[in-house]
Symmetry: C2
Subunit: 659 residues, 2 copies
């Protein structure tokens, strides 16, 4: 499988300082949710202009007719009739202009095309939910917005995609994988800036208290106006389109001002809206029994990598570049989750951090990929309302260089004298005092900040002992003077100290999977032409089930053969299902096409069987002994269907697809 | 790989009613944390008795000596000397008895054995942390107790274990896998009983506020008394041992009374303790922006399966038995996390629910396993202070039958007239009113409880419309009378209605992994006998890295060969590392033995190389073309090392292990 583009991945480049990361995110980003309308077509602009002119001609003529009718003494009937005729003609003209504009809007993808896209999407989603690829969570308790359960086929697709992701990135590139907890203490997310900045702007319905994302309201308002209000002046239409384009870059003040300017109210009740205010998207909780340690569910997995940087760097032999990766759950308490798997409150994130020397970003493998072409969507293109465009990787990097400046890496001239905090716990004394807990007390002492250490030094010098909270033990211990030595030493630094830069590709697995679903879905007519049949054309690598086994008719001897084949498929590690319901073979094919099973084995004899390929519906005949290895060959990607078609006889008397 | 026992899995049997599940958990359970001491050995009891007798003889003689010395007029010196001599002899006797008791306690696993076990464990944990198998989370911020990061080798082991678990259970048994969110609305966990009952009993240090688990304090007190207080009477010792055995079954009142009776204080400060009170172990949070929807991080994954029962049952063709499985994070805000990966605040749980017909629990595959022997630890054995014991599965099941009664399954005689709530949303009206949101409104209406529906019916009849909160939309909509019909219909039930029983095997993956680490660890002397070298003897299936590639000496031609081999290993999907540091080959072997790499390829020529097996240190010589396929064969488990040893020449001039 090859992902068609990086549409659901974000890549950020920044120095590895947690605080600055948040602001530099989404250097390159794109998503269906944020798809930006194309710039106003010339024809649309001229059509809006034409309609406005026709409409003012109508207004002027209507005024003239009223004036004629109201003339003292009365105008001649013939004169009035002529004016009325002229008004009718102008109205016909204006109507035609309105229809042309409407048609143009539809062709722009905002009207009929959008509604057919919506119908397609609805068909995909209905199939996905009906076949339990995913379903809204906690349905039997009326559900919670933005949380989804993956059912058996969805789970299998997800696990296939993750296995491939791990193979493609982590194993192939020897990345260092880590797996860190979701529960995160506040101190970590304060340092990364999330506690202060990880917010969306929210407004409330002043009467019902219902919450809305301010930018969603503004965007929805603009889109609806553009689609439905044909009397918009070309200038106003251009303004609304511009607002949509720059939506993500509006400040809180600008966003609030626009909501007021356009008189936007709560969409469901039309009630007035509150002022906007920031809402932190992290799920808050409390760690430990005391209630005194605030924590959050991580909003991304990157922090787990950053806090381990020193250990990972050591693990890599203190050499750059290296990459670390993490797959895990992330949590965002979205104000208004939307669009199924695309904007949810909990999701599986796969993130990579490439740590590179800011002065030497060369990568040994870059030459192998420099000439590949990718679909990219640079920030400038996004802001200009343009579409994503194909770019040669090497050229993009030459460009990607003049982009965001690589902020502040610290570099000291060398050798240079620096003051260094030196904390030396006495392992002997601590061992005597704390026995098995010694190690954790030592680590907690060594982890003190300069401020904490100097305070401890002062207290120990004046009082001889001090209470010290050891988080890893969950308790407070008493530290005596003899247990630790704290000093500020002057030291010559001989090595360059620098902050490595970071390249962060980040993959929302749910989004990739949804994209895969939408790209793989198609419908085709049943043989009797009385039904639309759904098909997911998953490649074998991601298909939830690789193969089905059907006895053609319900008889013991075919059932026995089916079981023998199932056993050999299990031995070969091929996920499969066996369907001995005896339903018509056409219905059984349709049922498995709908969950994207690439191959179906039909047992119609006790010596050989047929294998049918899902999309072409072609069948070949293979002996029972060989069938598992043939299926393995094509699902593992060692051979294509074309290869095996060539080697085995085509089964011409194909089983009827629909009976 | 075969897990040596189900020591870290719990199995529960119960009807599939979430409310009753919690109480029936841990039917069979065991963990290192809860390992129960063996019953008091007869020798221990008699030794305590003997010591007590000797001690009272000492006391009596000491009293006699004091009386002689204090006799008015004074006793004869000879008489006093004789009495003192007798006292000395008795003291020697008593000392010997004390040593015999101490030795017996050590042999019982409570003394020296425990301390050597502790030393072994410390060696394992030190190696695991140093090589980044896992490390305390957020170390650079001083950490949080009970949260761990898996570093690169730990992550790889975890992912191998999970892949094997999925292969062994989910794929092999055609289980239905689901993947549900961790964030769970309160209503779900109220219904399951967790909000009310998922608690541990806690006490606080009355001065510092430090929190302790009440049962831990009692257990630690009893263990310390038993280990260190040699003057305990045999009766008292027996009492303390009994308390440890029944610890899990003490009521809050009994536990509190014991703490008081024994005068237990805060272990670190000796301050008095508060009364005990229940502390809910779930991490609480709030879902959505309103702050009005409480939620929790799930404390187990089972609920996600239960709430989807109806859909999964349908997916399985409305047939029992079937099994559903889920792998995912679970969260428990432990009062005092302990013992590394064994009791943590966030962990990966793999749970299975077998749904079975309570009247017909036969399983087609049972006959294949009925004669297997397993190590089991039934509740009665736990309470009696006995050890786990091997049992034949078939016999255990015949026994496992007379165990916990299978509570209340509902069965109606048939046919029978029942009243049924019928909710029929008008899709047409709802479609007109809510367009794209129609489906979610329909689902929310259909999901109403009987009480809610009847309230809505009354409101619609009196007022004609009603506000209705649709959680999946995150907002309140207005429902008109024409949009939904609600009625109570009388209906004849023709089918048996019953609550399926549930068998729940539950696997804490971190515990399994830790167990694997401990079982795999050993040390051996370096060749020069100057060092203890650590080895993890992981089977290839779970080894974090399958193979290393070392050029014997640093030269371009060997490096080139190493790279060619690395490429062929990548193509064969074998995780490996290449070490061209040029460190002595012995050191490189030791380094990879310590992370459990089973095979090392040493490049010492440009045509053939050696493969060394980690535990036996045997080496064979294999041509460069074949090396990847040989390694694949032994890591995939198609051949054993013994098989390939037989096929390839042994490399006799073995590379020195340590230079």
């Amino acid at each position: 499988m090859r992902f068609r583009s990086l549409r659901f991945a974000t890549i950020s480049i920044s120095p590895a300082r947690p605080k600055t990361l948040l602001h530099l995110r989404r250097f390159l980003s794109s998503s269906i949710a944020a798809r930006i309308p194309p710039p106003m077509a010339a024809s649309e602009e001229s059509l809006r202009q034409a309609l406005a002119e026709k409409q003012s001609a109508v207004d002027a003529q209507a005024h003239a007719v009223r004036a004629l009718k109201a003339r003292p003494g009365g105008a001649a009937q013939a004169e009035i009739d002529a004016a009325v005729e002229a008004l009718k003609a102008l109205k016909v003209d204006a109507g035609a202009a309105a229809r042309r504009l409407q048609a143009a809007l539809s062709n722009n993808g905002d009207g009929a095309a959008a509604s057919s896209r919506e119908a397609f999407r609805q068909a995909v989603v209905n199939t996905l939910e009906r076949r339990l690829f995913y379903i809204p969570s906690f349905k039997i308790y009326r559900g919670v917005a933005g949380l989804y359960d993956y059912g058996p086929p969805g789970c299998a697709v997800k696990s296939n995609v993750l296995a491939f992701w791990r193979q493609h990135f982590v194993l192939e590139e020897n990345m260092l994988e880590v797996d860190c907890p979701c529960v995160t203490p506040e101190v970590v997310l304060k340092a990364s800036g999330h506690v202060e900045k990880f917010t969306d702007l929210m407004v409330k319905d002043e009467k019902t208290g219902t919450c809305y994302r301010a930018d969603h309201l503004l965007k929805d308002f603009c889109k609806e106006k553009l689609e439905k209000d044909l009397t918009l002046s070309p200038e106003k239409a251009a303004e609304l389109k511009h607002v949509i384009m720059v939506l993500d870059d509006l400040s809180a003040e600008e966003l609030g001002a626009k909501l007021k300017e356009y008189g936007i109210t709560a969409p469901d009740t039309k009630n007035p809206l509150s002022d906007l205010y920031p809402f932190n998207l992290m799920f808050q909780t409390s760690i430990g029994p005391s209630g005194l340690s605030p924590g959050y569910m991580r909003p991304e997995t990157a922090q787990g990598i950053f806090v381990n940087f020193k250990d990972l760097y050591y693990y890599n032999g203190n050499k750059l570049p290296f990459a670390a990766a993490q797959i895990g759950q992330a949590f965002r308490n979205e104000i208004s989750p939307r669009q199924g798997l695309l904007r949810v409150r909990e999701f599986t994130l796969a993130e990579i951090e490439h740590f590179v020397d800011p002065d030497d970003k060369s990568h040994p493998k870059f030459v192998d990929v420099a000439n590949l072409e990718f679909l990219m969507f640079p920030r400038e293109e996004q802001l200009a309302g343009k579409s994503a465009k194909p770019m040669i990787l090497g050229e993009a990097v030459l460009k990607e260089k003049s982009g965001v400046p690589l902020v502040a890496h610290e570099k000291f001239p060398e050798p240079r004298e620096v003051e260094k905090l030196v904390i030396v716990p006495s392992k002997k004394e601590l061992g005597l005092a704390f026995k098995g807990s010694q190690k954790m007390v030592v680590e907690a002492l060594e982890a003190m900040s300069e401020k904490e250490a100097l305070e401890m030094k002062a207290t120990l010098e004046s009082k001889g002992e001090m209470d010290f909270h050891v988080c890893t033990l969950g308790k407070t211990v008493s530290i005596m003077k003899k247990m630790v030595s704290i000093s500020m030493d002057k030291k010559k630094e001989h090595q360059r100290v620098f902050t490595p830069s970071v390249i962060e590709p980040s993959f929302g697995i749910g989004r990739i999977i949804y994209c895969l679903f939408e790209h793989s879905f198609y419908t085709r007519q049943s043989k009797a032409e009385d039904e639309q049949l759904n098909v997911f054309s998953f490649p074998p690598l991601v298909a939830p089930i690789k193969c089905t086994v059907f006895p053609l008719i319900k008889t013991q001897k075919f059932d026995d053969v089916a079981k023998i084949i199932a056993k050999s498929l299990t031995a070969a590690g091929i996920s499969h299902i066996i369907d001995i319901t005896g339903t018509s073979i056409g219905k059984r094919y349709a049922r498995t096409d709908e969950i994207g099973v690439p191959f179906a084995i039909t047992v119609d004899s006790t010596t050989s069987v047929t294998i049918r390929e899902r999309d072409s519906k072609q069948q070949i005949r293979v002996s029972i002994d060989e069938v598992a290895s043939v299926v393995k060959e094509v699902t593992d990607g060692q051979s294509t269907w074309g290869d095996v078609m060539w080697r085995y006889p085509t089964h011409s008397a194909a089983h009827t697809e629909e009976e």
